[in-house]
């Protein structure tokens, strides 16, 4: 029971921790405060509590596939917000002078707040449903609560490690690492959104296009970590692979456009 809750909470925490670390790395580059992050976390906890409390009602929507549709909507929105974050980050980074940087800095904080808020809404609601289910079972609650705290602690630690890792890189390399992580994250989100819509029967699925479970099983600890961080699936459908690649390409294209544009034209295009 202890190990179960450690792994469950760790999985849910890792995804948000990775996202927050990357956005914090961008934020520290701007030299801005972290008030936006506190706002996003508090807001995200509030909306996840709302989602968790309404879970059974949401489930009944769209002929009992409301959860999938809601999750797909959240994940698609997160993907779009990541594109906006990448855009504003690179426009600011390439602008060079403070006036333009300040202009993009505000927008970046707005988009980053919304991204984290939506990510916590989805991950947080699952954690809350899990915790609330055990709340009235006194015998389990202590074990489960300790497990959750350990899982949460490990998740946060990994996030801090990623943040320090990003900060140990210099100049262009740091930017490249940040954009790579954002691209993989966007791919993961679009792939998960597609899977949700397949599960709800909104998208037809032709079954798995490969099976890599003998190389890396989703049930192994490494597989679970890869799933939480990168959205690894041992048996993905073709639609998911296309969605994953689309997410990566969208972030890379946005980045290239943001870097190529003349800084003085930036305001008009943004």
């Amino acid at each position: 029971m202890l190990l179960n809750s450690v792994i469950l909470i760790l999985q849910e925490t890792l995804e948000a921790a990775l996202l927050i670390s990357v956005l914090l790395a961008i934020n520290l580059q701007f030299g801005g405060g972290v008030r936006w992050l506190i706002l996003a976390i508090v807001g995200g906890l509030a909306t996840s509590a709302l989602y968790a409390s309404q879970m059974s009602r949401v489930s009944e929507w769209f002929e009992y596939t409301g959860q999938e549709v809601t999750n797909a909507l959240l994940q698609t929105s997160i993907t779009l917000l990541i594109l906006l974050c990448s855009w504003t980050f690179l426009r600011c980074w390439s602008a060079g002078h403070d006036k333009v940087a300040a202009h993009y800095s505000f927008r970046f904080h707005l988009f980053a707040t919304a991204t984290v808020l939506l990510a916590i809404t989805r991950e947080g609601s699952e954690i809350l449903v899990y915790l609330m289910g055990f709340y009235h079972q006194a015998s389990f609650f202590h074990t489960m609560a300790s497990g959750s705290i350990i899982g949460f602690g490990i998740g946060i630690s990994v996030g801090v490690l990623i943040l320090y890792g990003l900060f140990s890189l210099q100049g262009k390399w740091r930017v490249a690492a940040i954009i790579s992580i954002l691209a993989l994250f966007a791919g993961n989100m679009l792939s998960q959104a597609t899977l949700q819509l397949i599960q709800a029967d909104w998208i037809e699925s032709a079954g798995a296009i490969w099976n890599s479970s003998s190389l890396l099983s989703e049930e192994s600890l490494a597989g679970k970590l890869m799933y939480a961080l990168l959205g690894y699936e041992a048996t993905p459908s073709g639609a998911q692979v296309i969605a994953y690649c689309t997410g990566i390409i969208l972030v890379l294209l946005t980045s290239m456009l943001a870097l190529k544009m003349n800084p003085t034209n930036g305001k008009a295009a943004a």
Partner: protein, 104 residues
């Protein structure tokens, strides 16, 4: 963004033909714990959670994951998949809530 979306919406008309299989959750156990479904066919899984506590249906082999609140029911579409054994479990009570979908 989703080329299959339009096609997917129209496929709702075909739901009536999709076999429905009911599974219940009682005392953190799945009833039945062995579910037989036809191969290469899309199946609608109707899961009723009769426990007051929530559960999360999960199957790595089928790429399915869904929270089921206490005293409620959900629908999960699975397949089409080829013949084989596809285990599933309840992520919140993985020590007891276990089952397998036998695709034949």
């Amino acid at each position: 963004m989703y080329p299959g979306l339009l096609l997917g919406i129209f496929s709702h008309a075909a739901i009536a033909a999709t076999p429905v299989i009911e599974v219940e959750i009682r005392d953190h156990l799945f009833y039945p714990s062995e579910v037989r479904v036809p191969a290469n066919t899309k199946v609608k899984l109707l899961i009723k959670n009769l426990d007051p506590t929530p559960e999360e249906f999960e199957s790595y082999e089928l790429n399915r994951e869904k929270v089921i609140s206490g005293n409620s029911k959900v629908v999960i579409f699975i397949g089409p998949v080829g013949p084989g054994d596809y285990p599933f479990f309840g992520e919140f009570y993985p020590n007891t809530a276990r089952g397998v979908i036998l695709v034949r």
